[in-house]
């Protein structure tokens, strides 16, 4: 774990209320694994403000990328930082996804939940992965170009049908699962996104007896396991999302 003084290399509004933040953070970049996150001190917030946790979207060549949605005062303030500004980045933090997968890796993401899945796909290898991504409308779908460039097979569902099939992302997911089962192929689930989606994926993993890797968001104070603020209930009791997670096995989770 490093608390690295990082420099903003790029910081762009990518539409839909999302921004793409690119940081020069060589220490964090070389140590981070898919599913891990960083805890960022937002420069313009007051000294006592807590840090904000974000999944690592990509890490390569000393550079860490984050995709984030502006939802409150911290992300709004972060959005005002500019190229060349310095940002304290604490990381890598948490337990990420397993980096081996038996059979197909079914990546299921919603919103900024696709961020860690991109880094995962790059690590597992595009050919092993299918990304299932959902959103209300086409504008909610993030980083499709990056997944495409990797060569990942992408299946899209939008509530309004503006892109991909109309409806929930579980529809194309279930279709693929049925296909794989019919073909006798193995698969694992990897998911990050809103709680409803996580639950839907976890239920399928349990029902099908397939491994399910669920990345959960919990409000955090320290991000390193020191404060016990970020509790996720598990079969073994109260776990800390920041250090025992954020990725949990579907079998461990208690909803």
């Amino acid at each position: 774990m490093f608390d690295e003084t990082s420099t903003i290399l790029a910081h762009e509004d990518i539409g839909g209320g999302y921004r793409h933040l690119v940081l020069r953070s060589p220490q964090v970049a070389s140590a981070v694994a898919p599913g891990q996150f960083v805890h960022i001190k937002v420069p313009s917030l007051e000294q006592s403000a807590l840090r904000r946790p974000f999944s690592v979207f990509n890490a390569e060549d000393g550079v860490v990328e984050v995709l984030y949605k502006t939802v409150g005062r911290g992300t709004a303030a972060l959005g005002k930082s500019q190229v060349d500004d310095k940002v304290q980045v604490l990381g890598p933090l948490g337990r990420g996804f397993p980096l081996a997968c038996r059979g197909k890796a079914l990546l299921v993401g919603g919103g900024y939940g696709v961020a860690p899945l991109y880094f995962l796909a790059r690590t597992l290898g595009a050919e092993k992965c299918i990304l299932f991504v959902g959103g209300r409308t086409a504008g909610d779908l993030l980083a499709l170009d990056r997944f495409a460039a990797l060569g990942v097979d992408v299946r899209i569902a939008t509530n309004d049908g503006s892109r991909g099939v109309q409806g929930f992302v579980t529809a194309p997911l279930d279709e693929e699962v049925n296909r794989l089962r019919a073909a006798g192929e193995e698969f694992e689930f990897f998911t990050c996104g809103p709680d409803g989606l996580l639950k839907a994926v976890a239920d399928r993993a349990l029902a099908l007896g397939a491994p399910g890797w669920i990345s959960a968001d919990r409000h955090m104070i320290c991000g390193v396991g020191a404060c016990y603020a970020c509790i996720q209930k598990t079969v073994r009791g109260n776990a800390r999302c920041c250090i025992d997670g954020p990725v949990f096995s579907a079998k461990e989770l208690v909803w």
């Binding site: 000294q47 404060c227 109260n238």
Partner: protein, 309 residues
């Protein structure tokens, strides 16, 4: 000028005047890599009790202007797992590292005393002092009432004192009319030091949902905004009794720590500031030394109570 950074907190010999505050620094290992441990004279472990304790439901905290309100509720593994797992790991990672103050709590005097005697009996190298939390606002059955009634407090301190020879620090509640009688009670019953302040009882309401933000409804306020209140309590306590004071509450800069020392503290603990910036430990340490050299103090301990009048 070489500055002597050693301080003695009621028998606890610290290599620097800085500690970490209980509950903000886990069991001492979690911040490895981000905090400069060489600046710390002690770390304080998260509250330990006899049996495992689940803590409160989520959400357990909320950010507020000037700090945060928390109601973690003292989740912990109980004394056995603490000794077997957490102390082991601390000693493995930091064999010659800062000494450990163990923060303890319980529902009865007997429970407190039992935890204290087990800690001493364990004979662990790192465990150097006990901090008795009589003031956590988040556990109803817990220490809360101990901290607001001098008779009850006296019995508790005497009970724990009888159970251990380790330096005994009593952590007092900030929400009292006058700290003097509570400090005096600690002195009278054999405590070696007091620590001040615990969080201030507080609350935040989600006005859109019209519910308290915290599952526990209320919690404790820590952070930058409580510092001036903490300075007052440390100042009053230092003038009321001879016991050394471990001061905490909203230290974010070296000047805050120096202020505590001048108000009468023998050592200073960093808490919420570490959440925002683990580098604060080094900055506060360096700044204190810089202050000492600029003002001609050859020992940090000379700052204690060194007001000009």
């Amino acid at each position: 000028m070489v500055i002597d950074t050693r301080v003695n907190l009621g028998g606890l010999e610290m290599s620097t005047p800085l500690a970490t505050a209980s509950g903000t620094f886990g069991y001492g290992t979690e911040y490895a890599g981000a905090v400069d441990y060489s600046c710390l004279g002690a770390i304080t472990a998260k509250g330990v009790r006899l049996d495992p304790w689940p803590g409160n439901a989520m959400p357990r905290h909320v950010e507020v202007p000037g700090g945060l309100v928390n109601a973690i509720g003292l989740q912990g593994p109980g004394i056995d797992a603490f000794l077997a797992h957490h102390v082991d790991e601390y000693e493995r990672l930091f064999p010659g590292g800062p000494k450990m103050i163990v923060n303890i709590w319980g529902g009865t005097v007997e429970e407190y005393a039992e935890v204290a005697s087990r800690l001493e009996a364990a004979g662990r190298k790192s465990i150097a002092a006990i901090e008795c939390n009589v003031s956590c606002p988040n556990v109803k059955a817990g220490g809360h009432t101990f901290g607001h009634d001098t008779a009850v407090l006296g019995r508790l301190v005497a009970g724990v004192r009888a159970a251990t020879r380790l330096p005994l620090i009593v952590k007092l509640a900030p929400n009292v009319g006058s700290i003097a009688p509570f400090a005096q009670t600690c002195a009278d019953n054999g405590a070696d030091a007091i620590s001040l302040i615990n969080t201030i009882p507080a609350m935040a309401i989600d006005i859109e949902k019209r519910v308290p933000v915290l599952a526990n409804k209320t919690g404790g306020l820590s952070g930058r905004g409580i510092h001036p209140a903490a300075v007052k309590l440390v100042y009053d306590a230092h003038r009321a009794v001879k016991l050394p004071v471990l001061a905490m509450g909203g230290v974010y800069e070296a000047r805050d720590a120096v202020e505590f020392m001048l108000a009468g503290a023998s050592a200073v603990a960093l808490g919420s500031a570490i959440f925002s910036d683990p580098g604060v430990v080094r900055k506060v340490y360096d700044g204190m030394l810089e202050y000492c050299s600029r003002h001609g103090f050859s020992a940090v301990s000379d700052l204690t109570g060194a007001l000009a009048d």
